[in-house]
Symmetry: C2
């Protein structure tokens, strides 16, 4: 199976699991939660988690509830980020954002609901022993919490007012804002497959390199991408005066850093006792994608 068919298959499995989950009956908040869950993208984070389980030779169904919880947290963060008080976005992935459809109050509650229910999904996952479930709650609450993704969102908002001039600071923002959930996807697979500490270390490094590569390619696409494919105006970062890898390193510098991060990510995969061919293809795809 080629990478795209494989990713599509995993995405379909995740979509089905997300929709099968019952989030309360019929009230408006539950409807708003489902609206944003349905309007998913590539499901990159849960796909990554399931690909690692495949690579470790572990049944995918052992990670499905964790994949669902992870996507719920990601979805909540998008709903809240899109709010007028935050990024004030009207559209996401070609559809009106949650608050444009349901109003701000319901959108806030829908985000709160997805965030809270995600932990309920994790803790009720009968396919994992309670020790693993507890580790996953610890890991996800730390990744998404005030020292993780939320701190990243705060730093990112501050950087819009006062652009960062330092590469390490820019990396830190992304490692928190988007990197923490990508790291969770990889480490969660590790915990579920129960590899050694040495392997968890490799999973963490891999996720850091892939997360950075993902962001650098985003910045490159903003300069030389196809507006129709990426679904937003090209050049928006430069217009907003926001610091990016391209603005700090130049286009060639950013491309060189992207290649270096991809090589480091692949090297970490080589060190794992797992069948990582598809994960290598995914890593190369992250760098080469056009949307």
């Amino acid at each position: 199976m080629n990478l795209h068919a494989y990713m599509e298959q995993l995405k379909n499995e995740i979509d089905a699991a997300l929709m099968a989950h019952q989030y309360s009956s019929t009230h408006t908040v539950a409807e708003a939660m489902r609206y944003s869950l349905r309007n998913g993208g590539k499901r990159f984070r849960p796909v990554l988690l399931l690909m690692f389980l495949d690579a470790f030779g572990v049944e995918r169904k052992k990670g499905m509830a964790t994949a669902v919880a992870l996507e719920m947290i990601h979805t909540y963060s998008l709903i809240h980020d899109d709010l007028p008080a935050m990024d004030d976005d009207d559209m996401r992935r070609g559809h009106p954002t949650n608050h444009k459809v349901y109003g701000e109050a319901v959108a806030i509650l829908a985000g709160d609901g997805l965030l809270t229910d995600a932990f309920n999904v994790l803790v009720n996952d009968q396919s994992l022993d309670i020790d693993t479930r507890l580790k996953l709650v610890r890991l996800l609450s730390a990744a998404a919490g005030s020292c993780g993704m939320i701190e990243g969102q705060m730093l990112d908002m501050e950087a819009e007012v006062k652009p960062v001039e330092d590469l390490e600071k820019l990396k830190n923002i992304h490692q928190l804002k988007t990197g923490k959930l990508i790291e969770f996807a990889c480490l969660a697979a590790g915990f579920i497959a129960d590899p050694t500490d040495r392997q968890l270390h490799k999973l963490r490094w891999f996720s850091n390199h892939v997360g950075l590569a993902f962001q650098i390619q985003d910045d490159i696409l903003d300069v030389e991408g196809d507006a129709e494919k990426i679904g937003k105006t090209v050049g928006s970062d430069e217009a907003s005066g926001k610091s990016t890898y391209v603005s700090l390193l130049g286009l060639d510098g950013a491309k060189a850093m992207l290649e270096a991060e991809i090589n480091k990510a692949v090297a970490e995969l080589d060190g794992l006792p797992a069948d990582t061919e598809m994960l290598k293809e995914l890593t190369l795809y992250v760098a080469g994608r056009d949307s």
Copy 2:
């Protein structure tokens, strides 16, 4: 020790535990989280939890992390409820609300941070075995989630537009919006003390009666309370056309229902193999309080 000195002592212990907790270093969101945590009220929910542990003869420190997590969830719900898109309140307990001090974006993130970190606090509680921790995460995520407190908040918002005319519907709103966290306080003490299922059943009934009594007394105070003591305008419910126990039952009817709920709560306490004298005093205090 009399009830007030006892409640004050528990409140001080809870305040100290809330402040001792580290929520990330110095960034603005962490500061906003601490701002609202510091501006606490009577800490009714965690006080109730600790009083039950005392009644069961269990060391209070076994419930302190749970008490902290519970108050974090309660505090997040107040921050989000006060937002302009929700209740649009400028003041809470004599201080500017979170978004008036830090702006809406930070207030949203501070709420998200408290909610997420609360689960991290629960799961890292070294004083409880992992089975109990898992039960508490399950219980708290269900109580606060889209089928619990969040559904209650949604129903309450809908009731402001279209007042409920049915007593059972009004009870349902309160049992979800405020009752679920009060129920968690009681059940969590039960899980930590490890009583039998029969006792958990009694704890649940007690919490339902006390929660209702709490709300009925709120509605009575809105009619005949002292504005200075309750910290808001008297008669605000009637002015807003909101359904209350007083509007549905009349003042005498509401007082009769309050007395009935208090008697039922005390009867549940009588059935517990615990020293419930202080809890009985607390229950009577809920009905007799003037603020």
